[in-house]
């Protein structure tokens, strides 16, 4: 089933370490193509920690891996900064220069059958001229 | 290249030249006694005034505090945007100009040397990174010591030699020129949000009084044979009734003096010459201050003149800025630096019709007019605290013309006129005296032997102003004075013509100078080796990463002196 949540993006140590291996390194991709979610919400949509989920906002939609996390309140999800999160964010900055990276309305649903794109595939799919 | 400045009306007080028509010869970057005239480029300076390049003793032009001011005051830049030209970089101006614009505007006024008066050592990489970007002028930095833990600890323990060795180490490694003291002891208290009043109250945790800090550093200054006296911004700046503490400060080092040599410079004394007991009863106490200065040769002062305009106050006196923002409700930056200092910034608009501001305006001028000896009072606006340095020509006109002063006096509140003495002062400066308070006297008190004069051997830093004293009387034609001094006809820096008709025609990079006081090897190495541990305990950076390498400066220029230790 589908659940309405609030999306937060931000830094994580894994992402911070992952980027130092290089953007083409698998460790970077793994560190940014995930979504932390409360166990309660994970259960509510009928997904498991480690399975793929689809996240949709008014700006876009992307498949990432769900990771169960006790530190996330129900009704909220967290995705580390990176190319996957960006698909879901809008460019309106309220004339501040700063897009809304935190507090974006989103919907999540299981996507067991779908694959998480590699970064190269992501760039080709979303940014090719 | 050789340059011949012909038939200028020369004011060169250090060489007793008072308006003589003569030639000045330049070879390379120096003034010389003769050149091959046929090969020299000739500047016709007839009917123009020739002086050494201007020297600014006290102007906040770089440093983290200045740059915070820039970031704070974007709206100040919006009204003064400067486009790039063939020769110059772009930037923005008004009260805190960007670095390039700062250099250009000084050069355009005929200034060639400027002292940045307040930098904490921890931020010296930042200071030199920024100083590197100030073109056109020679520059230096004064280092803050008046609230430094290591200094206070040495002084408390009576280790004056060790204290001197530490200060020599800092000046040499961090590339600074002067011992600057701001609100001694009190800024350490302000870092806890506290205030101490008077020079004799002990600083909490350190067991030392402001007076002991001032006296100790004055002794250190002597031991190190530093070229400039201690440069003191004393306690209780900007407080009604503070003239007493100002006199007390000057007097507390009197018995260290010998040979009538200046050994304390009191800066921006306008902010320290207030009578009365609150803002409503504020009055001028310049009679008392000038009287003390006239009678005591160990003291020099600068004006800290204010200008009626929108400007920005910024000082290492963080506790004062806290009080100022409470008073005005303005924006407030405070920035405390570990182990060393504090700083604050508050915008201010000095208004002619404001009673307090008008009294402040009069006090600055009174100081310059009541101190008899022009070699011991210097022109500053404490840029940008009293107003932007670009107003110097206006200040010169006020000093040279009673009529110019009266024009302003007529438009300030009556009560401000009553509480000040300016109306009754007839003195008018002449060009010889102006040359003293804007270059000769300042170069002398800075101990810069090659600056501020035009004798052979001096640096070829020269200003030529389009003002003909035979045609105009500065007392009557004060507007002509403002015009001439705002845009130099020529500015010559290191022997090159860099400004012509008030415009930059050649961008150059000036030197950054600092002082290296040579102390005994043993003392130097014992101090250096004790610092590793002190830094580990006190700082968040290692000694290694604290020091500024010499080649970090675009044009490094050490000045060596021999210490007495």
């Amino acid at each position: 089933m589908t659940l309405k949540v609030l999306l937060i993006t931000g830094r994580s140590l894994r992402q911070g370490v992952g980027k130092e291996f290089g953007k083409s390194d698998e460790k970077y991709m793994e560190s940014v193509s995930l979504c932390e979610i409360s166990p309660k919400d994970l259960e509510a949509i009928g997904a498991k920690s480690g399975s793929n989920i689809r996240i949709k906002t008014q700006h876009g939609s992307v498949v990432v891996k769900a990771v169960s996390s006790e530190s996330i309140k129900p009704g909220m999800i967290f995705i580390p900064y990176g190319p996957y999160a960006n698909i879901l964010l809008g460019g309106d900055t309220n004339s501040s220069g700063m897009p809304t990276f935190k507090g974006v309305y989103a919907e999540i649903e299981p996507a067991i059958e779908e694959r998480v794109l590699t970064i190269k595939e992501l760039v080709e799919q979303y940014y090719s001229r | 290249m050789a340059l011949l400045i012909k038939n200028g009306i020369v004011y060169d007080p250090l060489n007793n030249i008072n308006g003589e028509v003569m030639d000045i010869m330049i070879d390379g970057n120096k003034i010389v006694s003769s050149i091959n005239e046929s090969k020299a480029q000739v500047i016709d300076a007839s009917n123009k005034i020739v002086m050494a390049g201007g020297v600014d003793l006290h102007s906040h032009i770089v440093g983290p505090k200045v740059n915070s001011g820039r970031i704070l005051r974007v709206e100040d830049h919006y009204k003064d945007l400067v486009a790039k030209t063939r020769f110059t970089r772009s930037g923005s101006g008004y009260s805190i100009p960007s670095t390039f614009v700062t250099g250009y505007r000084y050069a355009i006024m005929g200034y060639t040397t400027v002292c940045e008066p307040a930098n904490p050592p921890l931020k010296m990489i930042a200071v030199h990174d920024e100083l590197n970007d100030i073109p056109m002028i020679d520059k230096t930095s004064f280092i803050l010591f008046g609230n430094n833990w290591i200094v206070m600890e040495y002084l408390k323990e009576g280790k004056i030699k060790e204290c001197a060795a530490f200060i020599a180490w800092v000046l040499k490694r961090m590339k600074g020129y002067v011992i600057k003291i701001v609100d001694p002891g009190c800024e350490e208290e302000w870092k806890w949000g506290n205030d101490i009043e008077g020079l004799d109250k002990e600083v909490n945790n350190f067991g030392i009084t402001p007076k002991e800090i001032i006296r100790g550093l004055c002794e250190v200054n002597k031991l190190l044979s530093l070229p400039h006296p201690i440069h003191v911004h004393t306690n209780m700046l900007g407080t009604p009734g503070n003239y007493r503490i100002t006199i007390e400060t000057m007097d507390c080092v009197k018995n260290i003096a010998n040979n009538n040599q200046p050994l304390i410079h009191m800066t921006h004394v306008q902010f320290h010459s207030y009578g009365g007991s609150n803002w409503a009863s504020l009055s001028s106490a310049t009679d008392e201050i000038a009287d003390y200065v006239n009678k005591n040769k160990h003291v020099t002062i600068d004006m800290g003149q204010i200008i009626f305009t929108d400007t920005t106050t910024m000082t290492a006196d963080g506790s004062f800025e806290y009080k100022l923002q409470k008073l005005t409700g303005e924006r407030w930056v405070n920035s405390d630096v570990e182990v060393e200092e504090s700083a604050g910034i508050v915008p201010i608009h000095y208004r002619r019709n404001n009673y307090v501001h008008a009294v402040m305006w009069a006090i600055g001028l009174e100081l310059a007019l009541l101190v008899n000896d022009p070699w011991r009072v210097f022109m500053t606006t404490d840029h940008p605290n009293g107003g932007p340095f670009t107003y110097y020509p206006k200040v010169i006109s006020w000093l040279m013309s009673k009529k110019a002063r009266e024009r302003v006096l007529k438009r300030i509140p009556r009560m401000s006129r009553r509480r000040t003495n300016l109306e009754d002062i007839d003195r008018e400066y002449n060009f010889y005296e102006i040359a003293i308070i804007t270059r000769a006297g300042i170069a002398k008190i800075l101990g810069l032997k090659n600056k501020g004069h035009l004798a052979p051997g001096a640096d070829a830093d020269i200003a030529i102003y389009d003002f003909n004293p035979k045609q105009y009387d500065p007392s009557r034609d004060y507007k002509e004075v403002v015009r001439a001094f705002s845009k130099a006809a020529y500015t010559i820096k290191d022997g090159e013509i860099v400004v012509k008709d008030g415009e930059i025609i050649k961008p150059v990079i000036g030197k950054t100078f600092w002082v290296e006081s040579e102390i005994s090897r043993d003392l130097e190495s014992s101090i250096a080796s004790s610092l590793n541990e002190k830094f580990r305990d006190y700082y968040t950076v290692s000694v290694d990463n604290y020091v500024v390498p010499k080649d970090y400066l675009y044009k490094p220029w050490p000045i060596q002196v021999k210490a007495k230790i």
Partner: protein, 433 residues
């Protein structure tokens, strides 16, 4: 084998300066004192690295030489009417200076990552000022440390041990005297270490600050709950703030990127100003990249403005929302871009990043970034702080000189050198050399 001591770490805004690096045959073999990010960078930076300039031909990036690559960048910039030059937080101050000169010469906009990081904090500074201090002040004096909307244990792993909770202090003899408060929407690993964790409702920071300011003035709050917290809890917290000896708030992107953005920081500044009537209090932005603060410093002293500077009319102009990278891209106003030491395709919302990929795009970066994959020309540069030295500014604006410990690969130049070549070529193309 050479051991370098007191090396600076070129990862985050902590700019730790106590790293020990062992080098054997121009290779880093051992790293001490650094955090996981710093260690990973120092030991892995050279792996899978591209050292050849690349240029796009027939839709594919193929190797070329530095001369052709720099000429191409110069050409892209000179032909543009509104080029965007973006990045800089992973560059030295020396490189940034050349970048500003280049932006001025080509009449473009130069922006840095503060734009999407602590830009709102800088906008708040314009309106309110900033009572702040260096990290050493916190080390010696702070008995109340607040992390608000930031998670240093993840993003600045040594922040607590080096600067706030554990360092040796002159005045605080027992570390237990220090209280740690975390205000966040997530129960982060930093929050788990706190004496008090305030789990705030997402996007309600401004409301919480308004309530705190009211409570500090002993005003009655006509509400039961604010920001998901009981009013009594807020009043107790206000008392805690008021009664410390020296308090500090470190704020992060939880404040700058949430609803209200710069207004959240304005409110926090106002709160800290209020608190200074009772005790000593400071506010410090917890900056991300190792030299994002330096990008603001250098840009500010050279132009008067800290980021997002538009030189299109010959003089600098600045207004976040108008001249900031994301806004320019979203409105589709730039017609070319040069990205230096940044990866906007990985970090900008797609809606903005899209426009970058549609126009001529050049990248200077030690790594093959996500942005490089979409670029027309890519020039690899040396790693600052590892292969070349340079100045960087810590989050509290202390400038430090980064060391070089190994040589860059042959033919790979510093950002500064590459930019100087491009600047020279731009001037030749413009006929002003």
């Amino acid at each position: 084998m050479v051991i370098y001591e007191n090396v600076l770490c070129s990862v985050c805004g902590c700019l730790c300066d106590d790293i020990e690096v062992t080098v054997e045959e121009n290779k880093i073999v051992k790293v001490r004192n650094a955090c996981a990010m710093g260690t990973t960078k120092l030991l892995n930076y050279y792996k899978e690295r591209n050292t050849k300039p690349l240029i796009k031909k027939d839709g594919k990036l193929i190797p070329t030489n530095l001369d052709e690559a720099t000429s191409k960048v110069a050409e892209i910039l000179v032909n543009a009417e509104y080029p965007l030059i973006y990045g800089w937080s992973l560059c030295s101050s020396e490189a940034i200076k050349v970048g500003i000169e280049l932006a001025e010469e080509v009449g473009g906009v130069i922006d840095n990552q503060a734009s999407v990081c602590h830009g709102p904090g800088i906008q708040a500074l314009h309106n309110s000022g900033l009572p702040t201090c260096t990290l050493g002040e916190v080390k010696h004096r702070a008995d109340l440390i607040i992390y608000w909307g930031c998670n240093p244990e993840d993003a600045h792993p040594r922040h607590l041990t080096r600067y706030t909770l554990s360092p040796k202090s002159k005045f605080i003899k027992d570390p237990k005297e220090r209280k740690l408060v975390v205000i966040d929407v997530r129960n982060t690993i930093t929050a788990k270490k706190a004496n008090l964790f305030i789990n705030i409702e997402q996007g309600a920071d401004f409301e919480l600050i308004s309530a705190l300011r009211a409570a500090l003035k002993f005003e009655e709050i006509e509400e039961e709950r604010v920001a998901g917290l009981a009013v009594e809890q807020i009043e107790e917290f206000a008392e805690m703030l008021r009664s410390c000896k020296f308090g500090v708030i470190f704020f992060g992107q939880g404040l700058t990127q949430s609803l209200g953005k710069s207004k959240n920081i304005e409110a926090a500044i106002a709160l800290v100003k209020d608190l200074n009537d009772y005790t000593k209090f400071a506010l410090i932005p917890i900056r991300g990249h190792y030299n994002v603060a330096g990008a603001n410093e250098v840009t500010a002293w050279q132009t008067g403005f800290p980021f997002a500077v538009d030189f299109s009319k010959g003089y600098p102009w600045y207004n976040p929302g108008e001249t900031t990278a994301v806004d320019i891209l979203r409105r589709g106003e730039s017609d070319a871009a040069l990205i230096v030491g940044s990866d906007p395709l990985a970090h900008f919302p797609k809606e903005a990043a899209d426009h970058l990929a549609k126009n001529p795009l050049a990248v200077i970066d030690p790594d093959i970034s996500v942005t490089a994959l979409a670029a027309d020309v890519v020039i690899p540069s040396a790693f600052t702080g590892i292969e070349v030295s340079g100045t960087a500014y810590r989050m509290d604006r202390v400038g430090l000189l980064m060391k070089k410990v190994v040589d860059p690969p042959e033919g790979v130049l510093s950002d500064e050198e590459i930019l100087r070549i491009i600047l020279k070529k731009v001037r030749i193309l413009k006929g002003v050399a």
